[in-house]
Point group: C3
Chain length 133, copies 3
């Protein structure tokens, strides 16, 4: 398992962490199984989506912002209830199959750290899970 | 793997199951890997979110209720289509990394069973997944 | 790990892949642990929901279509931004516990491949994860 730090620069942003995840995989030397990427925050999430056209994740951020507005009739007094809700909609972890030491992502897939209450110092954890012998 | 029963008391409620999940982990003695918590229902889900201020999950329930109203132009005749939809939005499982026998949750994270069609007798399953040797 | 092809026939459809997932499990002979089903696409997702009344997943598709309309003020020029967003809302993988060689799904649960930009040739990957010895 490895903990990786990152710095976000806007309130809301999707940051591609695919390469960093593959680097952890390279270090640990596992050949087959799965990699779990986990976000230990409650106002950030993680998802897999297109990494070719950056407007895809911009549209995704816009859609989430339309569904869960920043300002609303919320009880939580810190002003970031929208961020908590978006985090649960995206989820706190993704799993990716591993074959011959490589992330078995589809052609257009990238792993995105989803910042919903930045800018902040953040982290994510990469854990390797074993296939049966 | 262990099956744990719980009783819900409202139609919609988020119930913190972090402590019960850690207890299963303590019993099984695994040191490193991940824990999967799975909900075998289709009108309940599971998510990870803030466990400090209870108004966070109240706001999350309100937002889900606004997005997916209980009454609507639904085809399913049991009157709980909103609950099925909310269950898929939250998801049926969460994964949490384990290190030295402890759930490696972030400082503010708790695991929540998400009841969307209670009150009912419910259950969840805790399964431990191994890290490679 | 096994890759399974499927063909979708509409723009949006939920296809029950529970039986095919169990068949992979039967072939590989694992007794205990978990199965991960992963979708290597960015305009399709995967979820677990009711497999008894087909109107449940029809209602789920309708609700997703109401939340994320096909036509909107999107930047991505391919006309399928809604599909990318719905894919992230459902997620790219599900995990199901396995006991004595059987998927430990709840009584009403089925695994659904979620097509949001078909008809297309698609695939999903079934990976078995081990429980500790």
């Amino acid at each position: 398992m490895k903990n990786i730090a990152l710095r976000t620069h806007k309130r809301c942003a999707f940051i591609d962490i695919t390469r960093k995840t593959q680097e952890v995989l390279n270090e640990c030397g596992i050949q087959n199984g799965a990699v779990m990427v986990f976000v230990p925050h409650t106002t950030a999430g993680i998802t897999i989506n297109e990494n070719a056209d950056p407007s895809v994740v911009d549209d995704l951020l816009d859609s989430l912002g339309r569904l869960i507005p920043e300002k609303g009739n919320y009880r939580h007094s810190e002003g970031n209830s929208d961020a908590h809700c978006k985090a649960s909609l995206m989820g706190s972890s993704v799993l990716v199959p591993v074959k011959n030491g490589e992330l078995l992502l589809g052609r257009w897939q990238g792993i995105y750290f989803c910042e919903f209450d930045g800018p902040r110092s953040r982290q994510f954890q990469v854990t390797v899970l074993a296939a049966p012998e």
